[in-house]
């Protein structure tokens, strides 16, 4: 043996007993959610997800929650940890106190335990026409688009969204304003509006600039603070506000200037 390390210290990991208070809800049995407490011996390198997996494996098989990649790329494991929206695989237990409160993501209906209903979220994403709307329809024979690094830079950060919904939980306006389509949907719209292959800004306007779009945002900025992929939806929304304001005044002050239209959209797709 090279190192003079006793077998005992090598085999016994340092654990800290942490008390987890987890929101439980079974729609078949409960009328209301309630908190259940678990004592978990947490290892030093654990993330919250490891502790929850420990609970499910050893203490309570009925606990339901979403997770997948365990490395902050799939966006499945969003939770409220001591009141803050975070990915459970991205949040280290060693940085937390001895009592940790786990709840499902705020501003979403609870389906069961830590699982929220994300149907509304998906509808919001779809509502901004999240696909390239080119100036003319193109086929494979037309070849590829050319895009410079500078053109890519304009929208690349907004492509990084993993749909984890943390921004919706952090945003107070999502809670206060019913129907607000939210940060991720607006960042997604911006991703396409900024893409040089796309001319669809006017087609997305009726949702993005509507009474449930960018104007419901008061620039709290919490969305960008919690985003694990640094998408910065707050920036996307503010830039969209400026562009939308310019469009609005152009329409009234320079009515002869027509917005770019796409010949590839069907008649019902545009406003």
């Amino acid at each position: 043996m090279k190192n003079d390390v006793s077998e005992e210290t090598e085999n016994t990991p340092v654990v800290r007993n942490v008390q987890f208070e987890i929101l439980r809800y079974n729609p078949d049995q409960d009328d209301e959610p309630y908190y259940q407490t678990y004592q978990v011996p947490c290892q030093e390198e654990w993330v919250i997800l490891d502790a929850i997996n420990y609970i499910k494996d050893n203490l309570d098989r009925s606990l339901s929650y979403r997770w997948s990649c365990h490395m902050a790329v799939c966006g499945s494991c969003g939770l409220m940890v001591n009141g803050e929206a975070t990915l459970s695989c991205h949040s280290f237990v060693r940085e937390m106190p001895d009592k940790i409160r786990i709840e499902p993501l705020s501003n979403f209906p609870v389906a069961r335990d830590l699982i929220v209903d994300m149907d509304g979220f998906v509808e919001n994403l779809a509502s901004v026409k999240p696909y390239i709307i080119p100036a003319e329809e193109r086929g494979l024979e037309d070849g590829w688009y050319n895009q410079s690094p500078a053109q890519l830079e304009k929208y690349q950060q907004y492509t990084q969204c993993i749909n984890c919904m943390l921004c919706y939980s952090a945003c107070p306006q999502v809670g206060l304003n019913e129907g607000f389509i939210g940060p991720a949907a607006l960042a997604l719209a911006h991703r396409y509006n900024q893409d040089s292959r796309d001319v669809g800004r006017s087609a997305r306007e009726d949702v993005v600039s509507s009474n449930v779009g960018i104007w419901e945002c008061s620039f709290v900025g919490a969305c960008s603070e919690v985003c694990p992929k640094h998408v910065d939806p707050a920036a996307a929304i503010q830039q969209t506000k400026i562009a939308a304001t310019a469009d609005y005044f152009k329409r009234f002050l320079m009515p002869w200037v027509k917005p770019k239209k796409s010949s590839s959209l069907e008649p019902g797709d545009e406003k």
Partner: protein
């Protein structure tokens, strides 16, 4: 290239319920006012309200005759009007949003009160400056 039927259906499903927003009008005033107040409010507060009471500037700088003369110039009138006008509307809009942030569901009332105060103050501003 073209959206498949399913996507188009989802994208258009809520079409009828979206309403055009005229927020850009008030938001332009808000953004311009916010920028001007960020740049000039601190110096204006110090200059107008604090410099004389703390003894840094003599009160004669703010004599009726001198101020009246300074404001005689049309350029000065225009700048003073622009700064105060935009500051009023910036504040009014932000207060409207803040009232909503505090949980109060009375947006029409907030519009009436805050934009109303701004409008009345704007009228007095015009009367005073002209």
């Amino acid at each position: 290239m073209k959206p498949v039927d399913g996507e188009a259906k989802i994208a258009n499903s809520k079409k009828g319920s979206y309403k055009v927003s005229h927020k850009p009008i008030i938001w332009s005033l808000f953004a311009a006012g916010g920028t001007l107040t960020a740049l000039l409010m601190p110096v204006l507060v110090v200059l107008v309200a604090l410099a004389v009471p703390v003894g840094y500037l003599p009160a004669e700088l703010f004599s009726y005759a001198r101020i009246h003369e300074l404001l005689a110039s049309p350029i000065v009138k225009l700048i003073v009007f622009a700064v105060v006008f935009l500051s009023l509307w910036h504040s009014a809009h932000r207060m409207r949003i803040t009232v909503h942030d505090f949980g109060l569901r009375a947006d029409s009332f907030a519009v009436f009160v805050f934009y109303g105060i701004a409008a009345v103050a704007s009228i007095f501003l015009v009367l005073a400056i002209i």
